[in-house]
Symmetry: C2
Subunit: 247 residues, 2 copies
């Protein structure tokens, strides 16, 4: 009888070619499957709540997997952390109902994006922020952030790739920007996100900060349903998958 597991993890994505397994590349999923196969002594398929791109970090990514090996969840957590690179840390491992799937069961996700505003970015932070020392109208950006909330068509904010979306409509429950010390932090919680959507929202907020887009023009950007009217894609280094919610 196969058991189903729910595992929560954090990672520093800087030195990884993203979440998804790729031949001959260091990936988070690849490392997890390699180490789980060692522990389970048979191949284990890892289902993430979603992919993260190269250089993107996680404070609370979730994956599910099934395995026959009866190792207790607490022992599995320790065995995983013992074998994984230090840049990947398992935070929790627990038994899950048979129908739990990290991707299909998710009801909400939260992302965080960190912008460092200091003139000189400390070398211990540069892996984890987008360094933006130039002038920005932060008040305008703070006003613009909640304008992404609601059930909206986010096609203007999806980078096109080979993914086919049934719909580009998503619901954003909250979208806020706050300044704390030298960090400007954008937090967004939603039902789901299109490819590069958070980084494209941040790129659009930067355009607002530079005076190229007014806060009230966020609606116009969304209504255009055209990627070219939104801001450019903000760098991966500032982005963290903060958490995934389940019923």
């Amino acid at each position: 009888m196969l058991r189903n597991l729910k595992v929560t993890l954090a990672y520093d994505g800087t030195d990884f070619a993203g979440w998804q397994v790729q031949p001959d590349r260091l990936t988070i999923q690849g490392e997890l499957e390699r180490v789980l196969a060692e522990i389970a002594e048979s191949p284990v398929k890892v289902h993430g709540s979603g992919r993260t791109d190269s250089g993107v970090h996680a404070l609370g990514q979730v994956f599910s997997c099934t395995m026959a090996n009866p190792i207790p969840a607490a022992g599995l957590l320790r065995a995983l952390n013992h074998r994984l690179p230090e840049a990947v840390r398992i935070l929790a491992a627990e038994e899950a109902p048979p129908d739990f799937h990290a991707r299909f069961s998710a009801i909400a996700k939260t992302y965080e994006y960190r912008i460092c505003r200091s003139e000189i970015c400390p070398p211990f932070e540069s892996r984890y922020v987008f360094h933006c020392p130039y002038p920005l109208d932060e008040e305008a950006m703070i006003l613009a952030a909640p304008r992404f909330e609601g059930e909206r068509d986010f096609r203007s904010l999806a980078t096109s790739d080979r993914r086919e979306y049934e719909t580009t409509v998503r619901t954003i429950f909250s979208s806020t920007l706050v300044r704390q010390g030298e960090l400007l932090t954008y937090r967004v919680r939603g039902s789901g996100f299109l490819y590069n959507m958070v980084r494209n929202i941040v790129g659009t907020l930067i355009e607002v900060g530079q005076g190229n887009v007014a806060p009230e023009d966020v609606d116009t950007v969304l209504e255009a349903k055209d990627r070219s009217v939104a801001g450019s894609t903000a760098p991966a280094s500032g982005l963290f998958l903060a958490g995934v919610e389940y019923p």
Copy 2:
């Protein structure tokens, strides 16, 4: 007429083979000399306050150098940060008297060593700490720390290498260990330090924490003048050169 410069910098030493120039290796001094030569359009020799080993970080390393190029110090700072890797950041650049030398003019140095005590070390901290989740008598370690203070022969705490010391006597002005949150931080300020001395003090404090050495036995360790009686060398990742003082 050559001008003399005093430059203060911070770096994340994880991906460097230490401070000192080595052929075909990425080093801090090597990167500084490469970039300074580009800016000055002639070779520039960098004199650090001292070497740091591979993986050791700096919050406030200092170097001096002479150059003929009249670029203002503030412009030099910006030009250096523009060309250097993000892991190395210039914090200050200023004109210095002709006799200033980062190493020979130094009167004191401060080092910081960070020990992470949480069960799971966050992946965003593991490059900057020594992860020590096992039981330690921290009270005994805190009591032992100031016992390294004073003018003492630190031969027991010097890793032998090809360096020849005129004397192994050094003066430690302060030596303290404090717990803040999940971090146990050792700070030591002294007239100078022998090779690996701070990491060997920390290794000895770990022995105290494990009950292998009593706090009052620190004197015995020092009086033995024998490297084999002290603790092992704590990992480079936890060590920061915090600052260098000049008259």
